[in-house]
Structures are given as C-alpha cells and as structure tokens.
C-alpha cells in the first residue's frame, strides 16, 4: 500500500477534510490548485530539489548506529535530518511552501511553532526568498525555547508570543489561523506539520517525502535492503509522514512514537480541530484537552489525519513514550553515538531502547528518523538533570 492521495474532500479514509471559517475557504481552494499545478510542473519540483541540495544540505546521510546497535542487539540506522540546514527536517516543508508562496504572488508568510524548529526554518526560508515573516509561538514555549525565539528574530522574523489557552503549540495554531483571516490576500500560512485543512496534510507530506525517498535508496544502495521497522516521533507527524512515504509500500513495520502526554491515537477519539477531522485528546464534553510533554514540538493533543487513517487501517502503529524515558535515551544516544538528538527525536530513540528484544525482535534492522538535533534543548536538559540530582 502506498501513501495515498486524499479524496476530493481532502480525506484519508474517515479523516482530514476542511473545517475552516468561510473567510479562509477561498485561500484553501486556491492553495490546493496552486500546489497541484506546481507539484506536477518539473520546473517547480526541480527548483525545490535544487534549493534543498544547495541550501538545505540534502541529501542527508544515513548513519549506522553501531555502538547502540551492539548494546541493544538490533541493527539501527539513523536518517540524519538533524544535519539538514536549521537542524531538523522542517526545512524540507518550508522550502516547498515558500517557493509556492512566491509562485502564488504572495509576499509574506505566517507560521506557528512549538519547539521553534518550524519557526526558525520558516524564518530562514523567508529570509532567503525575501518574504516577510511573522511567527506565532506559545508564551510557555518562548520561555522554554528562548534561543530559538532569538534565532527567528536574527533571521528578520517577528515573533508573537501567544498568551491564550495552554500557551503552547495548540494555541499558536489557533492564533496563526485567526491572523491568517486578516491577511490572507497577500499572506500564505506556512503550516508546519501534516495537519490542518486540506491540502496542508497532503502537501506537507509530499514535501517531506523526500526523506523517505532518499532513505530507501540509501538503505538499498548500502545493501541493507528494506528495514524491518521504520521508527519516527509524531507530534502532528510531518517527519514520520515523510519517512513512512518511502516505505509504506514495503514490508517494513511503521512505528510512530507519540509523547505520552499527547498520545492522540492511544488516548484520543475522533474530533474536529484546526481545520481537520482527526484523532484528538478530548474531555468528556468534547473540549480539546491540553497536551503535556517535555518536548515543545510534541506538545499537541492531536495528530495529522493521514496518521489517524494509517492507525485505523493498522498500516502504522502509534506508541506512547513517557517523559521519563526520553532524557535517558537522549543521554545514551549522546554518549554512545556522538549525536545529541532533539527531545522530540529522543522519543523514537527511547521506544527503540525500550522495545529492543521485545516488540523489536533481536537482530531486526531498524531505521530511525533522527528528525532534529538537540542543540536547542541543551539548556532545558541541563536544568532537568540538575533537578534530578
């Protein structure tokens, strides 16, 4: 089974669609048409790939994590999105969307951000193309990720702290959408994950699928063949969708590691939020609950609709990973492999550590999407380790 095209209404199975104020519908329809047209134009695809090669640092390598493999008794390979420009896979999507913004004749982008990675990537791509950029970031996250906030400002973006609700990613999306209503004529909303109204979940997956395409070729060319398992962390789920896209039609098991405090598949139910129908963590009265995670990038009570569909069909499995498991995983990865992963990516590492020899049979080959580097998290991790002493 391939990752599929959504149907005309933007649905993957029961999930997806478009649930936005009428004021935004024309922009969603315009974006869908523009993306379809651009994505079938070899010139646009060529430019996208050229920018990612020349500016984004692609292709990213695959590293055999030999010491961690020896320790766990499985063969682990990491797709090194941490080595992409700006330090995570987020650059893939924003290069695509900012090129599309130009093509649509818009002059400005807005974005939401959780950990700051998507905000930094958007500010970076906007700077390169000369687009105006405003980033909405939950006030709590501006404190947790102060340096990323400053990075965005260095890149010429304006950062707006969001003080409503839980003051995290969910509220940043709300505020970005409210703002988009007021400026939709000249502004593109550069959404950072495989979520939101159609065509975003599909478009973002398409831009991120370069991860999976590269990884598959790289695994084959190093003689490894298709891995037994592909593991990625999932907040909204863009890095997971990107790497799954390369393996959905193979025998690989696909695993998405969600933060336990935002595990929309394990603890959620179908609902409508942020323009999409998907799995959401909700109260007994249909109010959306606040997620809780040490990783700002996974602090989200939902999941992209295509993931909800892959979970419903059983093609992919989604597993919760608790905060307590993440810091030791980050430490082990750093000490054994010389790679400090982002707290988000460390969820995928933690699941592999926990399940090696259990859900992951000994001797299996595992492809880990190392979606981002941990530099942004070092100060937070230091504080947490201090607190443990």
């Amino acid at each position: 089974m391939h990752m599929q095209q959504p149907d005309e209404s933007g649905r993957f199975g029961d999930f997806g669609g478009r649930f936005v104020p009428e004021a935004l519908m024309p922009a969603c329809l315009e974006l869908e048409a523009a993306f379809k047209e651009a994505w079938s134009d070899p010139a646009f695809v060529g430019e996208f790939r050229h920018v990612l090669a020349e500016f984004g640092g692609r292709p990213t390598p695959i590293t055999h994590l030999s010491r961690l493999s020896d320790k766990l008794g499985v063969r682990i390979f990491a797709k090194r999105e941490d080595l992409a420009h700006t330090g995570s896979h987020k650059i893939n999507n924003v290069v695509g969307q900012t090129l599309l913004t130009k093509r649509m004749g818009k002059t400005r982008v807005i974005a939401e951000t959780g950990a700051g990675q998507h905000g930094v990537a958007t500010a970076t791509a906007a700077a390169r193309l000369g687009l105006g950029c405003t980033v909405y970031m939950g006030e709590l996250d501006t404190q947790r990720q102060e340096l990323n906030m400053f990075r965005m400002e260095l890149l010429g973006a304006r950062v707006v702290p969001v003080t409503s609700g839980s003051r995290t990613l969910k509220d940043a999306v709300n505020e970005a959408m409210r703002e988009w209503v007021t400026c939709v004529e000249d502004t593109h909303y550069c959404l950072g994950s495989v979520m939101g109204p159609h065509p975003f979940p599909w478009m973002v997956r398409e831009f991120q699928s370069i991860i999976g395409q590269e990884a598959r070729e790289q695994m084959l060319s190093r003689g490894e063949g298709v891995p037994d398992m592909v593991v990625a962390c999932v907040g909204g789920g863009s890095n997971a969708a990107g790497i799954f896209a390369g393996f959905a039609n193979t025998t690989s098991r696909l695993i998405g590691a969600e933060a336990a405090g935002g595990a929309a598949v394990a603890n959620g139910s179908p609902g409508v939020l942020h323009g999409m129908k998907s799995m959401l963590i909700q109260s007994e009265f249909g109010q959306i609950e606040e997620a809780h995670s040490i990783s700002a990038g996974l602090d989200y009570p939902g999941i992209g609709p295509e993931h909800a569909h892959l979970a419903a069909t059983g093609r992919a499995e989604y597993v919760p990973v608790s905060d307590d498991e993440v810091i030791p995983a980050l430490q082990l990865m750093s000490e054994l492999e010389g790679i400090i992963p982002a707290l988000e990516s460390a969820h995928a590492v933690a699941w592999i550590i926990r399940e090696a020899g259990r859900a992951i049979p000994s001797g299996s080959s595992v492809l880990l999407n190392l979606s981002g580097r941990g530099d942004k998290d070092v100060a937070q991790v230091r504080e947490m380790l201090k607190g443990q002493q």
Binding site: R18, F19, P21, N174, R178, E185, F285, Q287
Partner: protein, 256 residues
Amino acid sequence: MKSLERALRQIRGEGRKALVPYFMAGVTPNWRDYVHAAIQGGADAVEIGLPFSDPLMDGVVIQEAGLRALNAGTTLASVCAELQQESFSVPLVAMTYYNLFHYDGLERAAGRLQQAGITGAIVPDLTLEESTHWRAVCASSDVATIFMVAPSTTSDRFVQLAAATEGFCYAAARMAVTGRAAGAGDAQRVVDSVREVSDVPTYVGIGITQPEQARESSAFSDGVIVGSALVARVLAGDSPVEIEGLIATFRDAIDG
C-alpha cells in the same frame, strides 16, 4: 421553511431591521438574565454562544468569555437544560464550533438544541462542503443551519451559500475574527452579493461595536449582529439592566 426563517422574514415584512445580540452561555451564573434583558431592550433574536476550547473565529473578548464559561463547567448539555426551563419571546440561535456537535453525536446534539428551543445554529468552522451530514440530521428538526459569507467569498460560493443557508445569511463585514476591528468594512459589497442571488434575510456582523455603525449597516442590510461589544460589557461587570439600556441605544439607532 423552518420557523426561524419564517420569523425573520416576517420581521423584514414589517419593515423592521433586526437586532441580534450575542451572549456567551455560562459566562456568569445569571447569564440567562442578560438574554431576557436583551429582549426587553429590543432584540429580535439572540445568539447564544456555546463555549469551545479552541474558538478559531473569535477574538480575545469572546475567548475570555468562553474560558470563564468553561471554567464554570458549562457544557452543551448544561446550556440546553438551563434554556429548557424557560421560554423566550424571540428566536434563539446557537453559535459554536463543530466539535461540540460531532463529539455529542449529530442526532443527539440537534435533538438537544431543538428541545432547548434553539431554532438555528451558526457553526463557523463547518464549511458548506462538510455540512452535508449535519444538514441531513437537521432536516427532520426545526434547527436551521446558518452560513457565513465573507469579503473573500467568491461569486460561485455566494450562490451556493445563499442557497444553503436557512433563517438568515451571516455577512461578515470584514476579514477578521470577532471583536478585532470596528466599522462597516466591506459589508455593503458582501450584502449586495447575497442579494443578487437570494432573497434570504442578510445580517451584518463582525465589527459592529457602536449604535451608529449598527444604523449604517442596517441601512443596506436586513439587520445587524452585535457580539464582542456587549460581551466586553458583561465581562466588565455590567448588570442585565445596564445591558438592556445599551441594547436600547442600538435599537433606537437602527430604528432612527
């Protein structure tokens, strides 16, 4: 034709411009007193906000009111149960977000509204394209589905939305969420676009904060919706009597 549209067409037939205030259910323990006060002050219908955790179409005032209501334990069921205890002399219309109905189950949610005497629903994140199931459920009830149109609405969508809306058509005067900007904006162009394709009553909302603006907008439409300007006064502690007085100034301005 559902009872809401019959009532609103009759108001127009009498040569009267409709005044539709908005209140957030559950924002204070005596929130229903504000609804009664608004009717005393001259409201022709009242919008009842049902609080949702993520109100995408609302600015800070209604966000704050919703948060207060949620913190007080307000739910779809509790609001409907409270409304069922009373009767109101003008139509009531719910305004909320789709997840509340989706979570409750569409049949059950529509049933609750009907039993509570709510004769219409404005659901800003329920697009025309996604509304098929909800409208089918409401077809067997007296709950009307009210659609919004906006300055960005394209001509083909004006035709579809004006044909689909029941009760009235909600014309957003400007590209903004509630309570964020004041003035008539593009309201006249939006209203004219509806009128070219339909004779459904068309009311202007989003940005009506002053009686004078209400007068201007009602001159080229069938009525006006006043939300954040009133909710801000409720949040500030105005009593129902004070709100009645404020509504009366809007009424006087509209009736000129």
